[in-house]
């Protein structure tokens, strides 16, 4: 009641009365904004600030960040970690999206007579499991001693990172599936029928009608995956430990951050270098998001259905 009448005040107020600040907006925004500021924005900005200081609290400007660039003491670790992060994301992008889409298409087709809900739940269920459990189960499945394969997939530099990426894909494939599924069931049947009447085959219908409608969603899923992958830590930590072996071949920025900030075994933690790695992560993620916003989201056409 109250808010509705205020609305009219505001909307109609411009011509008849003096415009008044819509205070209820502030009140409604306040709790979320406050919590978000205290627990997200402030720590984020403070961590950016910390990266400009040495461990002793002396302002050093960008000197810490320079350690990550070629010639710096953390340079090789950082670029190795960033590369691994991108490979990790690459696997998600190239495997998770097609598989998720395929599963969503299968679920919307009329191939399955019964049990669609069951399949949907089953495929989605790993997503709600703890990463530690997923890591532990897969570690046992892939163990050369007790598991089903004799190749030490997690122990070879060539296979460890792809294996971990695919474990993560296995866990999270339910998310793109659900997103795609939501779009697919929203496509009106008459569009498809009209195309069929015009003589388009299934392949053509998919690429000319369904796929363009999926593109905006593909972008959203990809950017969510990108952010999650670049922030990843838990799976690698629980399966390979903080040193992310073998030979740092699965070391990602999250594990590098952990070692820099908290230290590891004999390595002492450093607030400054930890904050610097975190800042670098922030920058990389920010760049990715900007590319998405200006390179993708602005160009992809969204259709009103």
């Amino acid at each position: 009641m109250t808010s509705a009448s205020t609305n009219t005040d505001v909307v109609g107020g411009t011509s008849t009365k003096r415009w008044r600040f819509p205070r209820h907006v502030a009140v409604f925004l306040a709790p979320a904004l406050l919590l978000y500021t205290v627990f997200m924005v402030y720590p984020l900005l403070d961590s950016l600030r910390l990266s400009l200081y040495s461990d002793e609290g002396v302002f050093v400007g960008l000197a810490n960040l320079r350690e990550l660039l070629p010639g710096g003491s953390l340079s090789s670790s950082f670029w190795n970690a960033l590369g691994n992060n991108l490979v990790f994301f690459g696997f998600h992008f190239l495997v998770q999206n097609p598989v998720g889409l395929l599963l969503a298409v299968l679920l919307t087709q009329h191939l399955l007579k019964r049990g669609k809900g069951t399949y949907r739940t089953l495929i989605f269920s790993p997503t709600v499991l703890s990463v530690v459990i997923v890591g532990f189960i897969w570690q046992l499945i892939l163990s050369p001693l007790w598991g089903v394969v004799s190749t030490p997939l997690l122990g070879l530099t060539s296979t460890a990172l792809p294996t971990l990426s695919l474990m993560s894909v296995w866990q999270f494939v339910g998310i793109p599936m659900m997103f795609f599924y939501a779009v697919l069931v929203g496509i009106p049947e008459d569009l498809i029928e009209a195309a069929r009447v015009d003589g388009a085959n299934g392949w053509k219908i998919f690429w000319k009608i369904i796929f363009p409608l999926l593109l905006p969603m593909l972008g959203i899923i990809s950017i969510i995956t990108y952010i999650a992958n670049l922030n990843a830590f838990d799976l690698i930590y629980s399966v390979q430990g903080a040193l992310a072996g073998p030979e740092f071949s699965t070391d990602i920025m999250g594990t590098l951050f952990y070692r820099s900030f908290f230290g590891f075994q004999l390595q002492s933690g450093s607030t400054a270098m930890g904050a610097t790695v975190a800042t670098a992560m922030f920058i990389v993620i920010l760049l990715g998001v900007l590319v998405y916003l200006f390179g993708w989201a602005k160009r992809v056409e969204t259709y009103e259905l």
Binding site: A30, S77, P144, S150, G155, P246, E247, Q267, S268
Partner: protein, 446 residues
């Protein structure tokens, strides 16, 4: 309507004020207890016979039962006014958690000390008290104290509790079955491994490289002292007179690389708990060990076990063992009960504690000068090597792991890499030396 908004804004503001006040006041309380209130409280407690609570921070969550059932009751029987709680956290998270607790002022009164720099950093940051003059410190040799003193050796900040010794634990039943004897030289060692492999019933060496630290700790640091002659090599590296690319270090890696043939299939992905289980389930004949395994193995293995020290190159050579200072106990200077904490620390330095601790935790050997007899035969075997061999500690621990890249971390990775055969021993040693030279001045000349 307007009134409603005012109400809501007022309410939110009130909430904030309340929240701010309450956090303020709680800060105040901690500060008073930590700083000013400490002394008075202790004296009051002592005078009135009130019980003082002490909390021990530790990473040894495996030892919880021993502390609660044996050690603490023994102490409390002598000191009825002091109540002690053992509060361990997971080993991997200990350093990080302790750091934040100390900074936040919520850490316990007694702090279990990691060796060398981790504790030195805490001391430098004012989180460990100076206990140089503590009664009982005279019971420890210089070597025993070396891991918990300042670089100039003037201040001490933790009471040494225990060391761990490296060697090999073997399945005695399997040895009898196959008909092999305990090896003393390296040739004999590899002959034994060949015999076990030829027999085919057991994996010869229960080890994997997935966790990397076994390769470095149970491998490199285990057999290495015989190559770099213990303390000679260790101090040589610190002084810069030896390099990690010297023959003795490359040779250690070369020998280590030979282990790969005798490790289980797919060892690259076998983790520490896997190899422990493989050995205790009777699937492997030899376990490259640290003495800390004794407790668990006694509990889990259902066959007779023995131990042998790292094999020497030729019969009659002096043997060197890694008798590594591993664990100590210090005091939180912010503790409100510093007198009680000192009482506890002095007790930890006493022969009573030495004997009780060593025997409740076979494999953790007392560092004190009191002679302790071990009831456990396996532990006694490890301990007996102290008489025959020269002791040293792990060469990467003192000073050398202070910089970036971190030598210990690289040593883990390189040791695993060499065994995995993805780098040659020479290349591995070169990586370590390059990393060390990047930041450690004594290694930079020449």
């Amino acid at each position: 309507m307007k009134r409603t908004f005012k109400w809501m804004i007022g309410f939110v503001a009130l909430l904030l004020v309340v929240a701010a006040c309450s956090s303020d006041s709680s800060d105040d309380t901690t500060e008073t207890t930590a700083a000013g209130g400490g002394e008075t409280e202790t004296t009051q407690a002592a005078a009135s016979g009130e019980v003082v609570d002490l909390v021990i921070e530790s990473w040894r969550n495996d030892d919880l039962a021993i502390w609660e059932d044996t050690i603490i009751p023994a102490f409390e029987a002598d000191n009825p006014n002091i109540h002690v709680t053992f509060a361990p956290t997971a080993p991997a998270e200990y350093n990080a958690i302790l750091q934040s607790k100390l900074e936040g002022g919520t850490a316990g009164d007694l702090i279990t000390c990691r060796p060398f720099d981790a504790s030195l950093d805490l001391y430098d940051a004012g989180h460990l008290a100076d206990i140089t003059d503590l009664a009982g410190m005279e019971n420890f040799s210089d070597v025993a104290q070396s891991a918990w003193i300042t670089d100039d050796g003037t201040q001490k900040f933790c009471v040494p509790m225990a060391s761990v010794i490296h060697g090999f634990i073997y399945n005695a039943d399997a040895f009898t079955e196959i008909g092999v004897e305990v090896p003393t030289t390296e040739d004999e060692f590899f002959a034994v491994l060949d015999a076990i492999k030829a027999d085919g019933n057991y994996d010869a060496l229960a080890m994997g490289t997935a966790d990397q630290w076994e390769a470095a700790t149970m491998g490199f640091q285990n057999i290495g002292p015989n190559y770099w002659l213990g303390e000679t090599g260790r101090t040589g590296l610190i002084e810069g007179t030896e390099k990690l690319t010297d023959q003795q270090y490359v040779d250690t890696f070369t020998t280590l690389a030979r282990w790969a043939d005798y490790m289980p299939d797919g060892f690259e992905a076998i983790a520490y708990p896997d190899s422990q289980a493989l050995f205790t389930l009777g699937g492997a004949a030899i376990y490259p060990a640290g003495s800390w395994e004794i407790g668990l193995f006694n509990e889990q293995a259902e066959f007779a076990m023995g131990a042998f020290k790292p094999p020497v190159k030729a019969d009659g050579d002096t043997c060197y063992i890694s008798d590594h200072t591993d664990i100590a106990l210090g005091m939180n200077p912010a503790s409100a009960n510093s007198e009680a904490a000192q009482t506890f620390l002095s007790w930890v330095a006493s022969p009573t504690f030495a004997s009780m601790y060593a025997n409740s935790l076979p494999g953790f050997f007392s560092l004190s000068n009191h002679s302790v007899t071990m009831d456990d035969p396996l532990a006694q075997e490890f301990l007996s090597w102290r008489d025959d061999c020269e002791s040293t500690i792990r060469n990467s621990y003192q000073i050398l792991s202070r910089g970036e890249p971190n030598l210990e971390n690289e040593l883990w990775a390189v040791s695993a890499t060499v065994i995995n055969d993805t780098a040659t021993p020479e290349a591995g040693a070169a990586i370590l030396q390059e990393g060390l030279e990047a930041w450690y001045p004594p290694q930079q000349n020449g």
